[in-house]
Amino acid sequence: MNKTILTLAAIGLTLGAAGASQATPQEDQAMFQSYFMKRFPNVPKDDFVNGAYALDPVGRENWEAIEEFPPYETAVSNGEKMWATPFANGKTYADCFPDGPAIAGKYPYWNKDKGTVVTLTMDLNGCREANGEKPLKPETGPMAELNAYIAFESRGQIRKVVIPEDDPRALAAYEKGREFYFTRRGQFNFACVTCHGANSGNQLRSEILSPAFGHTTHWPVYRSKWGEIGGLHRRYKGCNEQVRAKAFEADGEEYRDLEYFMSYMDNGLPLNGPGARK
């Protein structure tokens, strides 16, 4: 009798522990994508790349009209010039990225040697420094313009972020990014998911909250609010400040890991940057 009770208890504990353990990134991704596709059954999967415009027909009409003369066009042109203009040593970005400029689909990635998530802006700045140039501010100005050109050239590439299984640090970075996404912060006590999870599709003042699925595909973005083009980490900073939390540094570890997690959630979606948003 006692043996039976002990055995049942052991089985229960084992099952409980298994249930409590964190899901794998693949399981997370399936759950995440399935949640949004069930929440918005009329939105085709690939249309999630268009954010709130996938949900709001009137907003979409406006946005499509804006896209006829895209406000990011100048940024793309400036970025193209930057790509082709030699550094002081005569080399160009193409020397660092021989398969460029359509390279956005490779980012972000886990760099085993550096032991960190690497973003496109980090590699572009790395290229500049290797050629004797000063690094650029990652989320605005010329770097955002260079990114706009690269994103434009990369349109249609499919998001396929990899979390290498041979380096547990990559999984740790993914998990940190995941924790960041779901952590409530700031005076308003909001997490990213507070607005873009169960409240996605709802109206916040005059705006419709976009679903989290597809959030990383269209960067950099020309925002009417900014009056210029800016990167994903600039938006992260803005979101954090909106909930009255202190923002982190663009290209700092916190936002790199967050981008890693969010991009992994978007795996399978086509890239459609640069974008135009309000």
């Binding site: 759950m31 779901f182 952590t183 409530r184 700031g186 006590n189 982190f248």
Partner: protein, 180 residues
């Protein structure tokens, strides 16, 4: 005769019990009164005693000599001018400013410590550092009450930000996503 003897005995007994009690109470009250008297004296001299600031508080910034005269200086000046009352009033007002400054400095230091603690776990709030700066500016402009209010609010934000970050540790997918 017997009744008179009885009253006399009762009176004697009352005196024997009551007098020592009264003496003891007076004896106990004595040091307290002496203490109060001493305190009053100290308070009169307090204007000149910056030692009233908490030991842990950072040293207050230089206060103009005219606003915070030294005790000895104030006393000497008052005597020389023959306006002891006016001098005493001035000396009392100046130290009050010194105390407020010290209190503000301590509140700002506490707020900074709370902010840094929150930042150490990634829980700093957007406006905390700004409020501390504003508290410093208010103090520099002599508005200690405003500065103190801001510093206390900033400290509260730092504490709440820290608690929030610790509470949120390990956050993950919400149940509504898991149970679809």
């Amino acid at each position: 005769m017997q009744i008179r003897t009885l009253f006399a005995g009762l009176l004697a007994a009352t005196l024997m019990v009551g007098l020592p009690t009264l003496n003891l109470a007076q004896a106990a009250e004595g040091p307290a009164k002496a203490q109060k008297a001493k305190k009053k004296t100290q308070q009169a001299a307090k204007p000149t005693a910056p030692a009233a600031s908490p030991a842990s508080a950072p040293a207050p910034a230089a206060v103009p000599a005219a606003a915070a005269p030294s005790p000895a200086g104030a006393a000497a000046g008052a005597a020389a001018a023959g306006v002891a009352g006016a001098a005493a009033a001035g000396a009392l007002a100046a130290p009050a400013d010194g105390d407020q400054k010290a209190a503000l400095d301590k509140a700002i230091a506490d707020a900074q410590a709370a902010r840094k603690k929150a930042a150490s776990v990634g829980g700093e709030w957007r406006d905390t550092a700004k409020m501390i700066k504003q508290a410093e500016e208010a103090g520099a402009a002599g508005d200690f009450a405003k500065g103190l209010k801001l510093a206390n609010e900033a400290q509260k934000q730092g504490e709440l930000g820290y608690e929030q970050a610790v509470r949120e540790k390990g956050a993950g997918f919400p149940d509504y996503m898991k149970k679809q």
